[in-house]
């Protein structure tokens, strides 16, 4: 006798040739969501193993409908009886008569209950997946913002090498301090004559005669190839920056609006996710990134840090010294609100930034002069 093993969200069902319910193995009700995820991760569940084990002796062949990789079944007892068909006639029958069968298994009391069960299970599963997706979204953002810093560091060092090398050929070009422009000229044109022919280098006011050594053939090609790959890293940095902007405007529109997407992303990266950031008190946000100084403060009584990562905000960096701490505290408070808005509503509220600007004005107005030494 052949039979069908099929499944739906409540567990596994075995139907005989005439689609009568032969056996079933339901997921524990409290583990319904967990099991859906297990199945969709490509794993055999214990329920499927159990029902197969129980029924394999009674059947000549079992037609298995599954979305798993078939190799999962190879090591089970009686594997030689398994056939795989997706969709199978048994599966089709189940999907045409889901209410009836689930009632037979006792999972629901009446066919009318099916819709309600489907609704609540789907919603719960979707919410779980959304949470995972937003964790992943945070993770991508964090990787990207960290990558930008690392690319910056790597290209910085490699460009120094390119400068030291190319200066042999064209010392005058070193006057171009903009690294991107410098690398682009070498990557695109290579030796000094071609650079001079192709670009009007007003910046360096150069005569055709340079004091550098001739560089050509393989000598030039390797250096030019080197510059080309550094240029490609610089381009990657640009696209990562755009990516961070885009992701931040999705994940954290208020935080981005308040302090810019790059600094916002750094705060998120530092703590490991926007939801974690939303749980922090603003006093912690204020000194995030200055953990070492905080530690010293606690241990040795040194002055506590006034600002950590948020020091990168131009309003703090450029503030007069006696205002830095006050502005940092005000900004941290607004950041805290912005992040919570981002996590709990997700809508941009421009008022937040305006409020910070007003606060800034009033701080500056109230403290025009440094405090007297006490």
């Amino acid at each position: 006798m052949k039979c069908y093993l099929t499944s739906c969200f409540v567990g596994f069902i075995i139907l005989d040739e005439d689609f009568n319910l032969m056996d079933y193995e339901l997921f524990p009700k409290r583990d319904l969501i967990k099991r859906q995820i297990e199945v969709s991760s490509g794993n055999l569940t214990r329920e499927e193993e159990a029902i197969l084990k129980r029924n394999v002796k009674n059947c000549d062949s079992i037609i298995i409908e599954t979305n798993l990789n078939i190799s999962n079944y190879n090591n089970l007892k009686g594997a030689s009886k398994f056939k795989f068909e997706t969709p199978s006639d048994g599966g089709k029958f189940l999907r045409s008569n889901m209410g009836l069968i689930l009632k037979e298994t006792g999972f629901i009391d009446s066919e009318d209950d099916l819709n309600q069960v489907l609704h609540s299970v789907s919603l719960e599963l979707t919410n779980y997946k959304l949470k995972e997706a937003s964790k992943a979204r945070d993770m991508f953002l964090i990787q990207a913002i960290n990558a930008i810093d690392e690319i910056d560091e790597a290209t910085g060092k490699l460009i120094e090498r390119i400068r030291e090398w190319h200066v042999l050929n064209f010392p005058e070009l070193d006057k171009i301090k903009n690294n991107e422009k410098y690398v682009k000229l070498i990557a695109e044109y290579g030796d000094r004559n071609t650079i001079i022919e192709n670009e009007l280098l007003d910046e360096i006011k150069i005569s055709i005669q340079s004091t550098g050594t001739e560089m050509e053939g393989p000598d030039l090609e390797v250096l030019q190839g080197f510059a080309g790959s550094v240029k490609s890293l610089q381009d990657t940095k640009k696209s990562l920056t755009d990516y961070v902007d885009q992701k931040m405007s999705e994940i954290a529109p208020n935080l981005s609006n308040l302090i810019g997407s790059s600094l916002g992303a750094k705060l998120i990266a530092h703590i490991g996710g926007i939801e974690k950031l939303a749980l922090l008190p603003s006093s912690t946000i204020q000194i995030m990134g200055a953990e070492k100084a905080l530690f010293r403060h606690k241990k040795t009584g040194e002055r506590p840090p006034k600002h950590g990562l948020i020091y990168q905000h131009p309003e703090i960096r450029s503030a007069r010294w006696w205002l830095k701490g006050k502005i940092a505290r005000a900004l941290a408070a607004k950041i805290s609100i912005a992040v919570r808005k981002d996590v709990y509503s997700g809508e941009l509220d421009p008022v937040l930034k305006e409020n910070f600007e007003k606060k800034l004005e009033s701080i500056k107005k109230e403290h025009p002069f440094p405090p007297r030494p006490s």
């Binding site: 499944s7 739906c8 969200f9 859906q36 199945v39 969709s40 409908e65 979305n67 997706t86 969709p87 599966g91 089709k92 999907r95 045409s96 889901m98 819709n115 309600q116 489907l118 609704h119 299970v121 789907s122 919603l123 599963l125 979707t126 919410n127 997946k129 959304l130 997706a133 937003s134 979204r137 999705e250 997700g346």
Partner: protein
């Protein structure tokens, strides 16, 4: 002002179409709510919903009944599904959407409507939701991607009842920006025919949508 029934569950007034709000007082996508004779209606915006556009452009086949089961591919934020949810109020609308961004809004709508089932999955991989979707009366597809006809057919094969109806919204530019829409519609139609589906009706969605065509089809026995 009066509401005239057009199809089962669809009303017309003053050049607008509307459905009776399943969820009184609650808007889904900023649509207008109208109260007439103790009933609340949601005005169906044909610029926001391709099904709305097709109805206004003279769609004749309208398979949605009060208890229809529907598999809706590309449910987006739930605009069109919510109207179907009004119509098939005792039915079930499986709403497949792959973008978490869209799903966040869609899940909210589903939360408020018992007959809408959210599925955060890729419509090109129907086997991934085989364990939750039943055989349905209608497969409705509005997924803007190159293989839109193929995924529509895959889903119909897996989930459509023998006497079910498929509705496919084709966006020509998603298939190939370089070809003329006319040519694309022809090609997609012949794909459907070759695969054993009969096209019952074709509705151009102009002026509501540019280069869009609604295909209504059924299994060809």
């Amino acid at each position: 002002m009066e509401m005239t029934p057009v199809f089962n569950g669809i009303y017309e007034t003053d050049g607008h179409i509307a459905t009776e709000n399943l969820n009184r007082g609650i808007k889904v996508y900023g649509e207008r709510l109208v109260e007439i004779k103790d009933k609340e209606y949601r005005i169906w915006d044909p610029r926001r919903s391709k099904l709305g556009a097709a109805i206004l452009n003279g769609l004749e086949t309208f398979p949605f009944k009060e208890d229809s089961k529907v598999l809706y591919l590309g449910a987006s934020a739930g605009t069109t599904p919510s109207h179907i949810s009004d119509i098939s109020k005792n039915g079930l609308i499986y709403c497949v959407e792959f973008s978490p961004r869209m799903m966040r809004d869609l899940a909210e709508v589903c939360n408020q409507r018992q007959n809408m089932i959210p599925i955060l999955e890729d419509a090109t991989k129907p086997k991934n939701y085989m364990n939750i979707v039943q055989k349905v009366d209608i497969v409705y597809s509005d997924v803007a991607q190159p293989k839109q006809s193929e995924l529509f057919m895959d889903n119909m094969r897996l989930f459509l009842k023998g006497d079910g109806i498929g509705i496919l919204m084709i966006k020509a530019r998603s298939i190939d920006v370089t070809k003329s829409p006319k040519k694309i519609f022809k090609e997609e139609e012949s794909k459907l025919k070759t695969a054993g589906f009969r096209v019952i009706e074709k509705i151009n969605l102009e002026p509501y949508e540019k280069d869009h065509m609604a295909f209504v089809c059924e299994l060809n026995f």
